[in-house]
């Protein structure tokens, strides 16, 4: 920290990069909006791993499971969903990775 307070020009350049990083991180934090759980609203009690039409809604193109901050699911439903997707993957209803 003491070195950064030096009047050296290279150090000043590095400090501005750090500031940029800090701004970027602040921006990321504001990106995820508050969303209510769609599954709670539809009162889903069981998620069937065989129902791939339903599961496909939570799997973007790469085949990964959509994270909670994007899908807006509550913790309980996200866990049920993840478990169902993983089961569906083991019997080749859903892929692990798509290319």
């Amino acid at each position: 920290m003491a070195e950064q307070e030096n009047g050296n020009e290279t150090f000043q350049g590095m400090e501005s990069i750090e500031q940029e990083f800090r701004q970027m991180r602040g921006g990321f934090r504001r990106v995820s909006r508050k969303k209510s759980c769609a599954l709670c609203r539809d009162k889903v009690d069981i998620i069937d791993f065989k129902d791939i039409k339903f599961l496909n809604a939570f799997i973007p193109e790469r085949g990964k499971i959509m994270p909670r901050r994007i899908s807006g699911n509550c913790a309980i439903h996200q866990r049920m969903l993840a478990e169902a997707i993983k089961r569906a993957r083991t019997i080749a209803f859903l892929p692990f990775v798509t290319d």
Binding site: D45, I46, K50, I91, A92, P95, F96
Partner: protein, 146 residues
């Protein structure tokens, strides 16, 4: 207390097996289960389906779905045989009785809450506010009919 557990078993059978093996597969599963003392509640041939990824260098497989009631010993025996069999390429067993019971409980609780809200709240409202409305509606009807 004899606990009956319910299981769902999905099996993928090698598509290159003979037709009689494929057609007779549910029957053989039924035989194994019932010999151990379980019951098959549902047996479904899901037919040939495209696999999401290659299994044993194949892109399609014959899917079977079974729903089995039992203690769990039948499942152990069934899985043992499937592991040995060359025809079965993949299977998954899921225990569903707990989940279904919990889901039914939530549903029942929700329905009870909804019915209580509809009848209990409505009754209270009738006593205080809607009483006048009912009376007014009755008098209105009389005049219209007349």
């Amino acid at each position: 207390m004899a606990k009956t557990r319910t299981y769902e078993v999905v099996v993928i059978v090698d598509r290159n097996s003979s037709e009689e093996d494929l057609a007779g597969f549910p029957a053989s599963v039924a035989g194994i289960i019932e010999k151990q003392g379980g019951t098959i509640t549902k047996s479904e041939d899901m037919g040939m389906r495209r696999l999401a990824y290659e299994i044993k260098h194949q892109t399609e497989g014959r899917y079977f779905l079974f729903e089995i009631d039992g203690s769990g010993q039948e499942i152990a025996e069934l899985e043992r045989r499937m592991r040995v069999s060359d025809a079965v390429v993949r299977y998954i067993t899921v225990r569903v009785d707990e989940d279904r019971r919990r889901a039914a409980k939530f549903k029942a609780k929700r329905e009870r809450k909804a019915s209580r809200r509809n009848s209990g709240g409505g009754g209270r409202r009738n006593r205080n506010d809607d009483f006048n409305f009912a009376a007014a509606a009755a008098t209105e009807e009389e005049t219209v009919e007349a």
